[in-house]
Symmetry: C2
Subunit: 339 residues, 2 copies
Amino acid sequence: MSDTVHMSLDEVRALSTEVLIANGMSEANAMVIADVVTQAEADGTHSHGLFRVPGYVTSMRSGRMDGKAVPEVTEKSPGLVAVDSKNGFSPPAIMAGKPLAIEKAKSQGIAALGLRNNGNLNALWWEAEHFGDAGLICLTMSTSQSFVAPWGGNKALFGTDPIAFACPRAGKPPMVFDYATSASARGEIQVAAREGHSIPKGWALDKDGNDTTDPAAALEGVQLPFGGHKGNAIMIMVELLSAGLTGGNFCFEAQEQVDAFGGHDAGPSNAGQIFILIDPKGFHETFLDRVEGLFGKILAQEGTRIPGDRRYANRARSATDGIECQAALHQQILDMRDG
Amino acid sequence: MSDTVHMSLDEVRALSTEVLIANGMSEANAMVIADVVTQAEADGTHSHGLFRVPGYVTSMRSGRMDGKAVPEVTEKSPGLVAVDSKNGFSPPAIMAGKPLAIEKAKSQGIAALGLRNNGNLNALWWEAEHFGDAGLICLTMSTSQSFVAPWGGNKALFGTDPIAFACPRAGKPPMVFDYATSASARGEIQVAAREGHSIPKGWALDKDGNDTTDPAAALEGVQLPFGGHKGNAIMIMVELLSAGLTGGNFCFEAQEQVDAFGGHDAGPSNAGQIFILIDPKGFHETFLDRVEGLFGKILAQEGTRIPGDRRYANRARSATDGIECQAALHQQILDMRDG
């Protein structure tokens, strides 16, 4: 048996939809999550692709997340839309709030969409791109659970606290960046541990609060913010806007709650997320031209790139070539679908 | 003669107001700029204090900036306020747009204030604090001129592209952070060059595009974004929101314009700036309590601090103790006032 299974993107979508519905997700929600999984595979960001499906299934089987959740959308004011995700997956909740949020951003010039009671942390680029495709500038941030020490401290408090930004472009998909505001993704440390190489100084502290380049020691300790005290300030902003403002849990609150339930798969985390949406034509009509002027200047320097372009290149390739899935993972998903 | 002159904050304010008016600034604008200078001295951020006054005077004497500019405020939509700073100093322009922007943020839940044709880059914390004092969450960003290479490149394109954030607190002044999104402030490299010590790797490249820890080589080369490719993405966002969106100049456009005029003090830079303002009670009523919950958790870890607290401690001290001004600088300002 080969180590990988070749799949077309249609096959990724069909399998994802089937396994989620077979394990209790509503059809409407499954179509949205399957789109995230398929786009992640298409874009080569496998950590949010099929790799994540078994965890989704487990979280529904354990009752930690509600695959049938029907998000509740509330108009809070002329510029604010709130969504209670009802402990469901966040992408369907975002899609539920999206039409009203877009309408408000376009009529008011700026609007915000705030989510609470999110059951999971999704790939923010997928979400930001939706608003970029609608012609809006989008800044989004989300909480998760505690992995990162505040600057100067040595105990986990913040999450990986991702931030994503989409900017519409003329005749092209939007520019989208998306990254953890921790110095590294947790998965990068796990990969280093598995492959036996060291990690850069500045990524993590060991359990005694000392700098470490040993990934095993880092996993027992805490991660650090990216960019030192400046990244720390950004993390505080992410916590305040995505959780403090919306009513979602701060990462430390989610962690306390999950710990009380007995572990990651045992209880809800009730995370929060904020989207700030701006009409790029709100101040003047030439925004899209000006974006290309800036990007042209960046690309005129050898060695630079526009954030997200690597994903789009992967997307173009996978549309015709399909993707490769680890055979063991593929079999696990088949078993979960059928058993 | 002593190396420094002791001044009360009232004396700082009076001297700043006098020297600016004597050199052609309107009284209304001078009162605002003198407040920035006084607060900067009070807070111990001397780079925006009296140190900057001679440059303000020079820029008015050369005609590069208009000290009598009357900013023009325009309501663009229910959530957007535009201000044309008319090549004046940015703080009076911000104060001109502030009442309408606050009214909109409170009635709409979220609003944005966009400035174009700013003549200078002010201390963003001073500005963000104004909106925090008004009970709003404030995120602001501004362009300046080109000092920083995009990630992977080696020529100056971005500015130091500062970002500031204010969060109101119950019974306390707002939490405010403010920093350059370059790895270091330009002044930090200049200080290292003067004092003859090296700079950390990652701050700058030399003129051939190589990493350098030599501050002199760094000043001939380019600065780098903070936090590697993640900070680079933030810098792109700062450029797009503060200039692309508002109609202000990107840093490279400001630089081209200033170069065409023959140097920094020879022509206008027409910078842009954006403020995103959010009503913290827009989603629920308990925001202020939740902020204290998060900050309490941060401060429970030894070695941490809340951003901006050092400035507030300085402010409390200087209110009674006054400040020290370099004697040569003090004399220079007196001469500019009187001559």
